[in-house]
Structure formats: C-alpha cells, structure tokens
Amino acid sequence: MIPLVAHRTQGPRRAQRVKGLGVKGRQTLWAYLFLSPALALFAVTVMYPMVRALQYSFFNWPLGGDKTFIGLQNYRRLLFEDPAFREAVGNTLYFTFFSVAPTLALALVVAIMLNGPLLRARGAFRTIYFVPVVTSLVAVGFVWRAMLEPSFGVINTVIRWFGLPGPGWLADPDWAMNGIVLMAVWRDFGFYMVIFLAGLQAIPREITDAAIVDGASAWQRFRSITLPLLNPSILLAAVIGVINGLQLFTQVYVMTGSAQQLPGGPLNSTRSAVLYIVQQTFRPLEMGYGSAAAFLLFVLIMIVTLIQFQVLQRKFEY
C-alpha cells in the first residue's frame, strides 16, 4: 500500500515540476477556461457599455454632434439643478418600497400555506400563482391598464358595488403609482413564492418536530425557527426585488404611455429613474446627460444592495 500511495502523491508533483502548475493551479486554469465564453459575453455586453457610458457621462454630447468634455457638469446638473431627476428617483424608491415589501410578505404567506402538509392540489396552486410571472409583462400591463380604467374598469366597478367611490388610478397623479404597485405585487409574488418554497423545504423537519415536542406554538415556530432559517431566501428575494424595483420601466411605459401622451404621467407621478434616463437620452438626444443619470442609478442600486446585505443578512447554524 505504501508504494502505491507514494506513487499517487508523487504523480502530480512530477507534473508540477514538468508544467510549473500545481493541481489547484490547473483546476483554476480549467475553471477560467470554462468560464471564458460567459466572461467574454459579459465583458462585451455589460462591462464595455458600462465603461463607455461612464466615459460619455463626462461629455456634452448631442447625438450626431461633437462631444465636448465638461467634467462633472452633468452630475452637478442632475444632483442640484434637475428637480425632475430627483422626482423620478423618489417615484422609483416609492414604487420599490411599496411593491417589494407587500410582494415578499404575500409570497411568504402563500409559500407557507403551500408548504403545509395537509394542502391538496398543491401543484395546481403553485402553477396558478406562478402563471403571472411567465406571462408577458407588456400584455399584463395592457390588461391591468384596462382593469384600472376609472369609469368602466373592473376594479372600480367592484369597488362601487360596495358603495365606495373608486379612485382615478392611472388618471390621477395621487393614485397612478399605486395602480402600478398593485399590478407589480400581483405579477411578481409568484416568483418570490417559489424562492421561499425552496427555502422552506430546505429547513430540516427535525428542528420543527423538536419545537413541537417542546410545546412551541405555531407563531413561536414561525418566529424562532422558520423566519431565521429562511434568512438566505429572504435576503435573495429582497435583493432581487429591490434591484428589479429600482429598474422600473416596462410597467410604466406600457401602463401610462400612449400614442399621444408620453409615459410617466400624469404630472410625472409615475416617471421612474430608468424612464427618465431613456427620455433624457433619446428625446433631446443628450447622450452624455443620460449616461450620467444611468451611472447615478447604478450607484444608488449598489448602495441600496449593500445596505440590504448589512441589514438583512444573518448568520446561523443548524
């Protein structure tokens, strides 16, 4: 046995001597080799445009005209002289908070219900709740736009059955973003439900059983076992949700724009940061200004994501 072991351990050493790379080094090399197609794609489609956008953000560049280097002037204008940009960021943060929090709460409740051992037709319910996620956002947006129509839309019709006046939804600056939030909650909670279901199924059954034996109530089990052990799933869902929320665009574009009115209304109440970037870049064709706005949004997303990791991440051991 000893010579065999010696032979096996000496093999790689011989290779190291010959090729100058250890096992770890060769594994790393192979890893990069396999990763290289994806990395190349990432570099071309993400990194390169990002670097160029950063570069353009320091220029005054009307598309078709000459580029003039203006340093940080675009950033100064965005941060201190452009209330419309601040309003768009505010709208985006409002949407993100008021859509992500209820979406995750609803997804968690539904996931727990679907994870219950007594529920029948669990697969059918999972499918039903997941269907909106795989439906075209544009199609869903148009349907919700019709449903939210204030005078004859189905939602206000139902509200009026109870003798209540329906809000103006997308026609009212005070309600328009709430209409988009409502649609987003309905559409997205199925996705987070799947994440939570996977997390719930990974929690060892023995821990819950032990708590039951110890006399813990359902709420105590949820509060002290399920919620802490679900933390990685909650963190993942929150990070994805917030990043998606901060990139709000399609819903607003579809639900508030028309051939005769620019999206983001009424009174800019639904204009998101991304929509603002698109409008600032491609309407007056100010490529430098749009690039600067895009970079500020990127920084905002980075900061919010880092804060989420700090606030939400909890270490635990089974």
């Binding site: 736009r145 129509e149 005078s151 997308l170 600056p173 009115q261 009174l267 309407r283 007056p284």
Partner: protein
C-alpha cells in the same frame, strides 16, 4: 421647404387641425352638425349640451379633450400670434402673454369649469372613435383612422372657432419633409424615392385611401378628389392655414402637457403654470443650442 432661398426638402403628410363632430350625437342633442361655430362661446355651449352624466359620472363627453389635448396646445397659441408659437426674431416662447393665457384658460376651462370631459372618463380611450364624445379636435389624418377603425362613426369636419379673442389665422398646419443628407451614399436613389413619395400619383393615392392632404398645390384645385365633404373640408382648411411654429416636437409637447396637467389635475393657477412651462420650453431650446 426653403433654406436661404434654396429648396432642400419636399413635403408630404400635410395636416391641418380641425374640429370633428359626431353628427349623430349632434342631432340627438338638438344641434345642427352642418354649421361651423363662429365663436368660442358657441363651441363651449354646444360642448356642454353634448355632455351627458349618470349622477356624478360622465357617460358622454361633450368634447374629447382630456386624453389627447396636445394638438390644442400647439395650434391654438400658434394662431394667436403673428409669428406663431415661437417669436421669429428672438426665438422666445410667445404663449406666456395675454392671448396665450386666454387660450390656456379657455381650453382648460372646458374641463375644470364646464366638465365637458374628465381625465378619469374612459381614460386613454379614443372617446370620439367609440361614439362617447360629441366632438374632438384632431389632425386631418384622423379621417383615415376613423374610417378604418370606426366605420360606423358618422362624423364631419369643421374649422374650429378661434380660441383667443385675437387671432391671425384660422387653422394651423404641419407636415413632414424629406431631405437627403450630404452623407447619403446613393444620392440619386434617395431623390428618386422622394420624387416617388411626392409624385402626383402617390399623393392621389394618399388622399383617396390614406386620409392625407396633398402637398402638391396643383392637386388642391382638383375637384374630383373632393367629392367627399370631409375631404373638401380638409382641402378648404389649407387655404389660410399657417404652419405650427415651434423649435421642438415631442420634447416641447411634454412641456405643454405638463402645463395642461398642472392646471387641470393639480388645480394650479393658469398664468403661473403657463409662465413656468414657457420658462422650461425656453430652457429646452437653450440646451439644444437653438436659443442664446
């Protein structure tokens, strides 16, 4: 189109801005759909008469204006100033002065005071096309749109009455124009395409089937194209039409939409909303390098 006395582009898609009546709703309301309105007050009274409600809720708009009012923004102030929306000599935005304030006050008053339409009534729908509005103000090309999408709609075209007390022309007009860039690789092919688009034959087809007005002056005299009274009204509107005069397109509309929304949805004072919008439009032109 001329620049420094040189022709450099040929126009197509000529549009004038006209008042469309739903003739059936006019008759139902006891109004005569063959008559033009000569004053703003006449139009206003008719719009009120055409408006129907069930309790507090609108069931028929007297005038479809809330969903797509932008044509009014640019045409009405254009007609109130001899040099249009933007002053020719200074490049200043004209509408932040007395005739402009009056125009904005009267247009928005249709919604805020007379309630002939509401942003919450059939929001974003073409109320006129679905027979839920007595009138609308649109570009001539909508004759083609309505003929295609609402074949049962019985409508007629009329010149709109002047919105402001002081006006210099009855109708505003727009058009696209085709030019060939100096960088174009095949100049002759490009001009051949423009020649085809602006040819008499193409324009006859557009007039007959596309809901367009001709850009060739010679065709305006051709009575055979004007058998339909709506086409005849479109042709007649071009006689004294003046071009919509601006330095922007949808970027300027966005500013004017904001003025409308601030007055109608946010109940802001007309003059301050118009002044703020004019400042913003001026700043837009400065950013674009069109104004000092």
């Amino acid at each position: 189109m001329k620049l420094a006395d040189q022709y450099y582009a040929l126009p197509t898609d000529v549009q004038s801005l006209l008042l469309f009546y739903n003739d059936d709703l006019f008759r139902e309301a006891g109004l005569d759909p063959t008559q033009d309105f000569s004053t703003w007050e006449e139009l206003r009274r008719a719009a009120i008469q055409l408006t129907e409600r069930d309790g507090d809720q609108l069931t028929q708009a007297g005038l479809d204006i809330s969903a797509s009012p932008y044509q009014w923004y640019y045409s009405a102030p254009t007609l109130a100033y001899p040099d249009g929306q933007v002053a020719d000599d200074t490049g200043e935005v004209n509408y932040a002065s007395a005739p402009g304030y009056q125009t904005w006050e009267r247009l928005t008053g249709l919604v805020t005071e007379d309630g002939v339409d509401s942003a919450e009534f059939l929001a974003e729908q073409s109320k006129f096309a679905i027979g839920k509005a007595g009138m609308t103000f649109k570009e001539y090309t909508f004759t083609g749109v309505y003929n295609l999408t609402a074949p049962d709609l019985n409508f007629s075209l009329h010149p709109a009455p002047p919105v402001a007390d002081t006006v210099y022309a009855p109708v505003a007009t727009t058009s696209w124009a085709y030019a060939v860039s100096a960088d174009c690789a095949d100049q002759s092919a490009a001009w051949e395409w423009i020649e085809f688009l602006t040819s008499e034959e193409s324009q006859r087809t557009w007039v007959a089937e596309g809901g367009e007005l001709p850009s060739r002056k010679a065709l305006l005299e051709d009575q055979s194209l004007q058998e339909d009274p709506n086409v005849a009204a479109g042709f007649a509107s071009l006689e004294d039409a003046v071009p919509y005069d601006s330095m922007g397109w949808d970027d300027a509309f966005a500013v004017q939409q904001q003025i409308w929304d601030e007055i109608v949805l946010d109940e802001q004072d007309v003059e301050s909303a118009v002044d703020r919008g004019a400042d913003e439009e001026r700043a837009l032109y400065q950013r674009k390098g069109l104004l000092e």
